[in-house]
Amino acid sequence: MRTFEFSAPETVDAAVAHGRAGATFLAGGTTLVDLMKLEVLTPQRVVDINALPLRGIRAEGTGIRIGALERMADVAAHPLVRRRFPVVSQALLDGASQQLRNMASIGGNLLQRTRCGYFRDPASACNRRVPGSGCPAIDGSNRMHAILGTSDSCVATHPSDLAVALVALDTWVTLRAADRERVIRLADLYRLPGDTPQALFTLEPGELITDVVIPGLPWAGNSAYLKIRDRQSYEFALASAAVALRTEHGVIKDARIAVGGMGTVPWRLPKVEDALRGKPSGRPAFEAAAERAAEGARTLADNTFKPTLLKRTIVRALLELEG
């Protein structure tokens, strides 16, 4: 860990004023401190935002507004979240460990860095960490890596479970900078790696997530998150699926599907959603729709199983949701 300047402002205005180039915001610290110890991230200034008034989990119409500093554990346990968006609560509980969930913030969760072993190892090349240095994962150890949204410069998997659930729900985030506030779709926060994998987010320097807004979706009470991984807790997804279904008289009227462990960003699957609409709810429709999930996938030497696993995970999630 390198030496750095530290400040702990108490207002959002002061925080965004501090958050100029070379600075990073510290919330729960569960990613940042880790990466600073590894010297993967070496900020000159750390701005501790924990004193900011970015709290609260409130109904907003039939949706929910969540302050960016709410802790994962508190959001997962909140009755409103559990009732309106069970997929969000489940995705949170499937992430990290209880200790980490007690610390990690919602805003930080959405900005967590990839678990790619080359990214986390400063002795390795990595185009995300050192642009132009190369991507050893493409011909290296890549079982956990992405098959969707990859490029020749980066195949790292987006790690957040929460983001997958929120992208399925068309979530918005509020961003504050020194001179403005804007609201964007969470899906638009993330950038595909392309040939600039170092640019992970569409955030401007100093911009701070203040709120996460899940818009109302009355039928999202029928939603679930399924995570498939190498052990049953405290491990990132090999595959995951956030699914929500609205059925009437056995016919699927609407569906939301997003998947994790597969993409370089949280991956929504509109073609699978389209394929489900209007079909009789059941395994044949789920399997037929899931066939479209891996379109455009580019597998790597160690993860050729992922397209199959992806389809199976969606089918299983839908079957379990259907009960």
Partner: protein, 734 residues
């Protein structure tokens, strides 16, 4: 008074451990302590051409920067090591993550920050990092057991093992592989070293000061009596703290150089690369049998990685197929492939854990092929002697383990066919395997003292690796002196105590237990002599043959006096006896092993292939059980390791030698959610031929066979045989 020996008791040091009062090595702080941070190589084979340490030397708080260009003095070879690690003595590197530097600073954070500024240039040579690629050029290793690398036993008239296989009615011939593993003890390696007047005090967890002290003395170039090692608590070892790694030699050498105490703690990543590993293996097994299940031939060829820096032979075939089943024709072999990978060494059940995965999977495959129950097949080939041998076992109740296990687990209700049971989309299956582990015992010396305050003390230089050894010392002592456990104190983990030997190979209790028994006799003799000879003793003048000691009392025909009264009256703060015990002729007259059988039930998701273990049972034959509570804990721990080996663990090297997953985030071990309720049953037959206490080893037995048990259950659930560990879901996706 009834003895606490054999009753389930809490660890005597449990409270200290759970309250944080127990001081592990890294918890030690000394006046003027400086902190060392290790620098490791990022090449696996080659020569360091330059190390730019200018920025590190200028960094705040830095006291010393040591590299092969400016080394600390440590004596020892760089390759083919069996003694202490001697880093910095050569510019050659032999594996990725090898210690190549140490930065010492006023704080840990300063040392780490400075170490991260060091830039290293290498002249890199292509490393050898693949066991499979090396098999064609594998070599027969020097063997540490008394048998050669290739052992052949043939019935008279049979020309070769292949001829025996050719004439067998049924043959199973398969290849099994197991990956590299790391011990991954909860406590990472640490050492605190302090010199005074040419003598070194070292606080470091280890598996025996009888190994540590002479190795460290050689490395430091000082006589062994100048080294005092202190290690009352060890947070898990499993073979991983048997050797004297660089944290110890670097801390000691830096402390000498700087003339102030130095602490070195490895990061978890450094534990992976700078200590040692269980070698990966490739094993070919061929089983020949008659249609009735009688084994007619058993061939087991094993290859394992031997690190160039610290070589080791994982005795996969010699420690399993050599002695587990009756067969008239047997051939086993061990070969090694030298590779540019981190050190290889012993890890919990070295040989048995890997070998049993291959042998017990193959036995399961043979049972299916024969249409025979897997337990029946094992009973059909139950060994009364080892193949070609004639010595009886000192004690063997494996048949009872199978029987009790089958009954308790409900084995009879198991459908014969695979893929026959389901629960929704989960496929359910059960499997079992044999376990066996040699019953080792080594010479040990222990001391027992009676104290003026009415307590007794049992002491020796042995180590408590987290197994409960401290409690074992107190229990055996309490049993022999006839006092309640609370009146007996145990001391260990200090090289200046009686020389109790090392702890490894599950030998601890069987080695020190008899020595404690002998030491109690010696101490009691001293006590009785004092009681009758000292003028101030209440029993003064009683003929020695008329006094005896019993349950805290010294008795003559006329009087009964508490021992502490004798000590107080005679002004003796303590009276003690030291004694040694060692194995004898019985080792040449008997085969000695511990036995067991493990059973498990798994559920495999039909769509996504995840394996979940839903039930486990271990039935163990390990002689007398001294503390059922910690014994059960040992077996459960071993079985959890077996699940881990089956489903989670595997350290992978890239072609460059880089560790692909050498972090605790990427090298998976099970979490609580992966482990169901585990049931453990002991069949308790004290083995008094093995040693007078009758206890045998339990530290390693639980892991043996468990991975095969899981793999066999996966086969029963799915009809798919996985022969490469760990079993991951992609191997089970149709």
């Amino acid at each position: 008074m009834s003895s606490p020996l054999g009753t389930p008791v809490d660890r005597v040091d449990g409270l200290a451990k759970v309250t944080g009062a127990a001081k592990y090595s890294a918890d030690r702080s000394l006046d003027g302590l400086a902190f060392g941070y290790l620098v490791t190589s990022t090449a696996a084979n080659g020569t360091i051409t330059a190390m730019d340490v200018a920025a590190a030397r200028r960094s705040p708080g830095v006291l010393g920067v040591y590299t092969p260009f400016d080394p600390l003095r440590i004596i020892g070879p760089a390759t083919n090591r069996s003694g202490a690690d001697a880093p910095l003595q050569t510019k050659d590197v032999h594996h990725y993550g090898e210690p190549i530097g140490l930065v010492v600073a006023e704080t840990f954070e300063q040392a780490r920050a400075a170490a991260n500024t060091i830039r290293v240039s290498y002249d890199v040579r292509p490393p050898a990092t693949s066991l499979r690629d090396g098999i064609p050029t594998a070599v027969e290793p020097p063997m540490r057991d008394d048998e050669p690398a290739v052992v052949t036993v043939l019935r008279p008239g049979v020309p070769s093992i292949e001829a025996a296989l050719d004439s067998s009615e049924v043959v199973v011939r398969e290849t099994y592989t197991t990956p590299t593993q790391n011990h991954m003890a909860m406590e990472p390696h640490s050492a605190v070293a302090s010199w005074k007047a040419g003598a070194l005090t070292i606080y470091t967890a280890n598996q025996g000061s009888s190994i540590l002290v002479p190795q460290l003395a050689t490395a430091m170039g000082v006589p062994a009596d100048k080294i005092h090692a202190i290690f009352p608590f060890t947070g898990g070892a499993f073979g991983g703290k048997f050797n004297t790694y660089a944290h110890i030699t670097l801390a000691a050498a830096a402390a000498r150089e700087l003339n102030r105490p130095v602490k070195v703690v490895f990061t978890r990543e450094q534990v992976f690369s700078a200590t040692s590993t269980r070698p990966d293996t490739v094993q070919n097994i061929a089983l020949g049998a008659r249609a009735d299940g009688t084994l007619t031939a058993l061939r087991h060829d094993a290859w394992g990685t031997a690190s160039i820096s610290r070589p080791f032979v994982e005795l996969s075939s010699h420690r399993t197929s050599r002695r587990w089943y009756a067969t008239q024709n047997l051939e086993i072999s061990q070969r090694v492939v030298p590779l540019n990978v981190p050190g290889t060494s012993i890890m919990r059940a070295p040989g048995e854990a890997t070998g049993s995965f291959a042998l017990e999977s193959a036995m399961d495959e043979l049972a299916w092929k024969l249409g025979m129950d897997p337990i029946q097949l094992r009973m059909k080939n139950y060994a009364a002697t080892i193949p070609g041998g004639n010595l009886p076992w000192s004690s063997k109740h494996l048949d009872e383990c199978y029987r009790i296990g089958a009954r308790e687990f409900g084995w009879d209700r198991r459908p014969r066919e695979p893929r026959a049971t389901r629960d929704g989309n989960w496929l359910v299956g059960t499997g079992m395997a044999t376990a066996a582990y040699p019953a080792f015992r080594y010479p040990a010396t222990m001391k027992v003292a009676y104290l003026w305050d009415g307590t007794a003390e049992v002491s020796g230089s042995t180590s408590d690796l987290g197994t409960g050894m401290t409690t074992v010392l107190a229990l055996v002592g309490a049993d022999r002196v006839g006092l309640p456990l609370r009146r007996v104190r145990a001391r260990l983990g200090d090289s200046r105590l009686s020389q109790a030997g090392f702890v490894g190979g599950s030998c601890g209790t069987a080695s020190v237990g008899p020595a404690i028994m002998a030491a109690v006799q010696a101490a009691t003799r001293q006590l009785l002599t004092l009681a009758v000879t000292h003028a101030d003793s209440p029993l003064h003048g009683t003929p020695i043959e008329d006094v005896r000691y019993e349950s805290g009392q010294v008795r003559s025909r006329r009087r009964t006096v508490p021992f502490e009264a004798v000590l107080r009256a005679t002004g003796s703060p303590r009276i003690e006896g030291e004694a040694s015990a060692a194995p004898g002729n019985e080792t040449r007259q008997y085969e000695m092993d511990c036995f067991g059988a493990t059973f498990c039930e798994v559920r495999v998701h039909e769509l996504t292939g995840e394996v979940r273990v839903s039930r486990m049972l271990g039935v163990m034959d390990a002689g007398r059980i001294v503390n059922p509570k910690t014994a059960r804990n040992q077996i459960i721990g071993g079985m959890v390791w077996g699940v881990s080996a089956a489903l989670h663990e595997g350290l992978h090297y890239e072609e460059s030698g880089r560790l692909a997953n050498g972090t605790l985030a990427d090298y998976l071990v099970p979490v609580n959610a992966d482990i169901p309720d585990v049931d453990v049953h002991f069949v308790e037959y004290p083995d008094l031929i093995h040693n007078p206490l009758g206890a045998k080893g339990i530290g390693e037995l639980g892991i043996v066979g468990m991975a095969a048990s899981v793999a066999n259950a996966v086969y029963h659930a799915t009809g798919k045989r996985v022969r490469d560990l760990p079993i991951t879901l992609e191997q089970l996706l149709d």
